[in-house]
Symmetry: C2
Amino acid sequence: PGSREAVRKLKASGLKLRFCTNETQATREKFVEKLQHLGFDILVSEVTAPAPAACRILKERNLRPHLLVHDGLVPEFDRLDKGNPNCVVLGEAADNFSYQNLNEAFRVLIGLENPILISLGRGRYYKETDGLKLDVGVYMKALEYACDIQAEVVGKPSKMFFQSALVEMGVEPQEAIMIGDDIVNDVGGAQQCGMRALQVRTGKYRPCDEQHPEVTPDGYVNNLAEAVDIILKQLDK
Amino acid sequence: PGSREAVRKLKASGLKLRFCTNETQATREKFVEKLQHLGFDILVSEVTAPAPAACRILKERNLRPHLLVHDGLVPEFDRLDKGNPNCVVLGEAADNFSYQNLNEAFRVLIGLENPILISLGRGRYYKETDGLKLDVGVYMKALEYACDIQAEVVGKPSKMFFQSALVEMGVEPQEAIMIGDDIVNDVGGAQQCGMRALQVRTGKYRPCDEQHPEVTPDGYVNNLAEAVDIILKQLDK
């Protein structure tokens, strides 16, 4: 409760704001449409997602990707040169994960002197209405084993992903705070990157998170609205 | 040279003999036909291959397999009960490794209280006339990660595989000797099982095998014919 209003207040305060998601089945456009429909004041340019973060990395390192991703995600890579690929980008591709397609990605990698595999997440599986589905991490492990390499993972909790969000806002890690419901992917990942992080006691939060063996948030809040109130009070001081 | 004659001499000596192969694309029948065509005195009942070894294990442990294997291999499992599966058997399945098929195997495993995955080998890739192809080990790793389990590997160099061959002959490990060209899969695997092992300096043998950091054969021979001559001389004493 109060999340829509909290986002509005944050924006009015002048603080810089990014929405960080691990969504890789669709473009940011589709994702934002859904949230706008729920009444959120959100723009595509305010979303940090694995695909655009990967695009930034590809451009910086002059990488031309061979894509093995969901059809819905392909437009995110429209502006990149994909001829004569020198790396593979792997996303949650569902039925596109055929033997032929995986083999093609493998042949690109094994043919490279320095094989680079960029994976948009490391999830094992997720749930859809018709049952459990294998996620991108499973195919990442497959290609890692085939080529005896380590993938670079883009998306929470990777440091690289949070760094992308910071670069987009133009702020340093110690100037930023993460608010999330996932103790490892949101809180742990942001802290690894040098940011502070609050865990909300909503969504996928579980009471046992407060005894997590590796991650301790900088604070707990009951929900996003409370987090925003605390932050804005600090700002007033 | 002299391999066909060596096999004939071994059989005439009365020693028990098994042919151990990691072939999983076709039934033993197809494999034996090929060797018979090359002039070898070999019967299907003398071949130890991963699929029949897996069948033996499945029967012993009352396991009903869900199969994800090459179409050519399915007849090896004809006699097994495959209803209401309580394990998954994975072979080199090529185009049968679709997202849907892998997901189906995953759902069987994740739905089991004690998920059992039996993999017919752990190879990364192999070479065919039209290029490199992903092998069964890659999909084994994928399912291991998805379900957070360890597969049981049947086939050389697994101990279980050599034990199957010994059981089929009715001999103890210390009564048996392995002759092979693969320092790890043939020699190392057999020795792990308590057998002695000779490496032939033919086939995939490479001079650097003689400096292998982990495996030292009980002896080297120039070829199968020489190995058989040495063994039969011992027998005469």
